[in-house]
């Protein structure tokens, strides 16, 4: 193991990973992004690590994740496609937290 690897392992990022997939032409994406941002806005700062992937500009990333229907929101390895209800995002966050806790034990 290199020095860098050991530093990363000790300084593990415990934030929940959210990836939002959108495109330039997707009519539903702006509303889905609003719902996502409003919902995660109710949580404490630094709870999430949010990455937005614009598949029009970065098709390789969409291909890498196998995500081609947009908008898609991925939270901790599970995803929802379309404009979600806030309750669904909330459930996904709770699921990701529970998985994280199980993983930490």
């Amino acid at each position: 193991m290199s020095n860098n690897d050991s530093i990363e392992a000790n300084d593990e990022d415990t934030r929940i990973e959210i990836v939002f997939f959108k495109s330039d032409t997707c009519a539903f994406c702006p509303r889905a992004e609003e719902v996502l941002l409003e919902t995660i806005g109710d949580f404490e700062e630094n709870t999430f690590r949010l990455e937005t992937i614009n598949v029009s500009k970065n098709p390789e990333k969409g291909e890498e994740y196998g995500v081609f229907a947009l908008p898609t929101i991925m939270i901790g390895g599970v995803s929802v496609t379309g404009i979600p209800e806030p309750g669904m995002i909330f459930k996904m966050i709770l699921g990701a937290k529970a998985r994280q806790r199980r993983g930490a034990k």
């Binding site: 495109s23 032409t25 969409g62 994740y65 196998g66 995500v67 995803s79 929802v80 379309g82 404009i83």
Partner: protein, 249 residues
């Protein structure tokens, strides 16, 4: 001699098939390859790409929604078609959107407010990069299992196929006809998506024998055979016998 009204043809790469359709698929059209499980749809579509690259120097893009690239390469190697080599030579791109990908998230829900603009961006990125002339999407039917919103998918398929062919490519879509089904696929619109429809059969003709055959159901702008012709899967891929009428269907 070509004129404004003549249709440029793309050789199919399937021995015997071009003779049934005035020399090949019309350039820039969408062709549906329909058939029940095990009829040879994927082999035909992959052979179209392979022969296109090898014999006609036309780069291709294979979008796989079902089988992994490893499995495809292994299957096609049985016919002496080395897809790995084609990739290395920049004549083929395999776009892996199969469910087996490790990074793909597990879908837990879907709302009827999405589009396939991501799929279009991914495919056109490869088409542009490769200067591709041939595109295969294998198989459309898997989308019916992946997504519930069929109305959205139907509308999106029309946009997707139009935008791929507008780029100058000839597009082959495969579609699995469910058992006990008389249509051409699970969406009921497959025939409208395409200007050409080829149907493959593998019918039981006796207790111990099955017979493979191919039918050109429609091909816009072409005089095509209206009969069902014998077809075989040989060691070199699919071959059609234009002069032989199938006994099976």
């Amino acid at each position: 001699m070509s004129d404004d009204y003549s249709i440029e043809r793309v050789k199919t790469g399937i021995p015997g098939l071009d003779e049934l359709i005035e020399g090949g698929f019309p350039l820039g059209d969408t062709i549906l390859i329909a058939g029940k499980a095990g009829t040879g749809k994927s082999i035909l579509a992959n052979q179209f790409l392979y022969r296109g690259a090898i014999e006609y120097s036309e780069p291709g893009v294979l979008v796989t929604l079902e089988e992994s690239p490893e499995k495809i390469k292994r299957n096609m190697m049985r016919f002496g078609m080395d897809f790995g080599k084609l990739e290395e030579e920049g004549m083929l791109a395999i776009v892996d959107l199969s469910p087996s990908k490790e990074a793909t998230p597990v879908s837990i829900g879907e709302y009827p407010s999405f589009d396939l603009s991501g799929l279009e961006a991914i495919i056109l990125n490869h088409v542009k990069r490769m200067k591709a002339k041939r595109v295969v999407i294998d198989t459309l039917s898997i989308m019916a299992y992946k997504f519930k919103s069929r109305d959205i998918l139907r509308e999106e398929f029309f946009k997707l196929t139009a935008n791929i062919t507008r780029s100058g490519c000839t597009l082959l879509l495969t579609s699995e006809i469910p058992a006990q089904n008389d249509g051409l696929g699970v969406f009921d619109i497959e025939a409208f998506l395409a200007s050409g429809v080829i149907v493959l059969y593998n019918e039981k003709i006796s207790e111990t024998t099955r017979s493979r055959s191919v039918e050109v159901l429609k091909l816009r702008g072409s005089k095509h055979s209206s009969r069902i012709h014998s077809m075989r899967i040989t060691d070199e891929g699919i071959r059609v016998w234009p002069g032989e009428i199938s006994p099976g269907v």
